[in-house]
Amino acid sequence: MIKSRSAKFNDYLIAALCLLLIFIALLPILNVLARSLSSSDALIRNEVLLWPKGWNLDAYKTVLQDSKYTWSLGWTAILTVICTVLSMTITILCAYPLIYDQLKGRKIINGFIVLTMYFSAGTIPNYLLLKSLNMLDKPIVLIVPNMLSIFNMIILRSFFYGIPESLRESAEIDGAGPIRTLIRIYLPLSASVLATLSLFYAVGRWNGFSDALMYMSKNRKYYPIQLLLYQILQNTTQIEVATQEGFFPPGISETLKMATVMFATVPIVLVYPWLQRYFISGVTIGAIKG
């Protein structure tokens, strides 16, 4: 179809609008990046907008030399890996049996599990339970209580449903039990959705904040990066507390704060674009079957 001149003009107009949106999406990040790379003098004179002035990496060096900060980054990375592996395991264990028509009591088990997505006990009951289990202020409280996301389980189950049942039946005729069928057939065919859900779990843990704030407040050593970042960003009194406790040398500067924000941002920015192809299908399945 040959486009008229006005249709072509409209194409460019739409592209220009999208450019504007890209700019808005990136603006806050570019601003902070520029500030983190600038000299303090340039910041005080309000000269820095989107391009650094007085270019230097001092803030990043200071952050990397601060053992409390690097420890928190490393700990959060380890925590993220542990949580992702455990969460994926339990999600697969939950989703797979539920696709078997032969499973007796499937409907009841399914309802029992999915109900908790619509009605949860709430913040205080969860807190009281963890308290009585003696899990508060221990690192395990960041791992176990949110190990299984029902929403992610439903996405995986829907994906498993999409795998032809004939494959399963022929495996059974060949004498494979359910576990072997899962490992040999279902998991290899689900690589894309498994990658998506791993991304969701990993991002959730890396960004997780409220559970640490509520359940871990007394155990500073195991603060995940977001809670540490929150304290750094908060008002001066809290910064002074952090300084006194040795998080930063006295006189924490603006560029340092910006550098810490960038450190928490960069890992995600590096990972998610590679998985884009996959997570789009994951989100779409979730929406259909939500």
Partner: protein, 312 residues
């Protein structure tokens, strides 16, 4: 008679021999659900008992007024009434301004004809979804700072007065809603874009033959194609009208704007976990989840009545 019973028992044995491993696989997830999702429900009881930070609720005597003491106290508590108002206000604004944003964005992206550029645009608008509210509050505090934030520097350079985006209650609400759109609008287009691809292309051709221009095609073909998706997502948002996120208001808030930023989840945290008033904050949380559940059920049956697919 004897035979058929025997047969059935054999069938059961065969069934178990074949599929017992499925129950084994389910054991861990089901144990998890029971311990970390159902056990806490026992502690809901503390909303009806006297407040005690040491004993379990089932060991305690009932609260006054037939156990409803804390619900009455909650509705006499100014902080709670403010939190309730703020929760509903912020959610309504999100619904009004935040809900249409991804639809408009998806329509725009769908009209973008340069394939490569479209892909890059999508990647970039998905990015904010992956940032935590703590990071976003760090970015926003900088960008929107009153004295030396980028936006206010630019405003002052073109001769306007600086705006206290995060430091005055009215402006804070605007920033809260805008940042919500900034974070999620791009991500939420995914569902709409997927729904658009399932629209029959012949409809567009027919519309083009009839001489419909771009806007008319969007209005008469794309939007009607999106209708079921829009309705399902709208129901889900309506069901969450009394729900409250924690990270978002908590991270963006500061002491100048608590009158508009304190929502129910923050109230529960401040009174319950920090202030140890478990019974009161638990009553508030229970009120919130029960009313929220009713909203969800109501919205769902409403959708079904109008002939749309509900969420269950």
């Amino acid at each position: 008679m004897q035979d058929s019973r025997q047969l059935r028992r054999n069938a059961n044995m065969n069934y178990l021999r074949r599929y017992w491993t499925l129950y084994l696989l389910l054991a861990l997830p089901v144990a998890f659900i029971i311990i970390f999702r159902y056990f806490p429900m026992a502690y809901i009881l503390s909303a009806f008992k006297v407040n005690n930070i040491l004993k379990a609720p089932w060991e305690l005597p009932w609260a006054k007024n037939h156990g409803f003491e804390w619900f009455i106290k909650a509705f006499q508590n100014r902080d709670f009434l403010f939190a309730l108002r703020n929760t509903v206000t912020l959610n309504l604004l999100d619904l009004l301004l935040g809900f249409p944003a991804p639809i408009l964005l998806a329509l725009l992206l769908n009209e973008l004809t340069f394939k490569r550029f479209k892909r890059v645009t999508q990647t970039i608008v998905y990015l904010p979804h992956f940032l935590s509210w703590i990071i976003i509050s760090g970015l926003a505090l900088r960008l929107l700072a009153f004295n030396d934030g980028l936006v206010n520097i630019v405003l002052q350079r073109i001769g306007l007065d600086p705006i206290p985006f995060l430091n005055s209650p009215g402006h804070w609400v605007g920033s809260y809603v805008f940042l919500g759109i900034w974070k999620e609008a791009g991500w939420n287009t995914i569902i709409y874009l997927a729904a658009i691809t399932s629209i029959n292309p012949e409809l567009y051709e027919a519309a083009a033959v009839d001489g419909a221009n771009r806007l008319r095609r969007i209005w008469h073909v794309t939007l009607p194609g999106l209708r079921p998706t829009i309705i399902v997502l709208l129901i889900m948002s309506l069901g969450r009208i009394l729900g409250s996120e924690f990270d978002r208001p908590f991270a963006l808030s500061n002491r100048l704007v608590t009158s508009v930023s304190n929502v129910i989840s923050i109230f529960v945290y401040e009174y319950g976990i920090k202030g140890m008033q478990f019974s009161l904050s638990n009553a508030v949380g229970l009120f919130q989840s029960v009313i929220g559940l009713f909203f969800l059920i109501g919205a769902n049956s409403l959708a079904k009545r109008y002939g749309e697919r509900g969420i269950w």
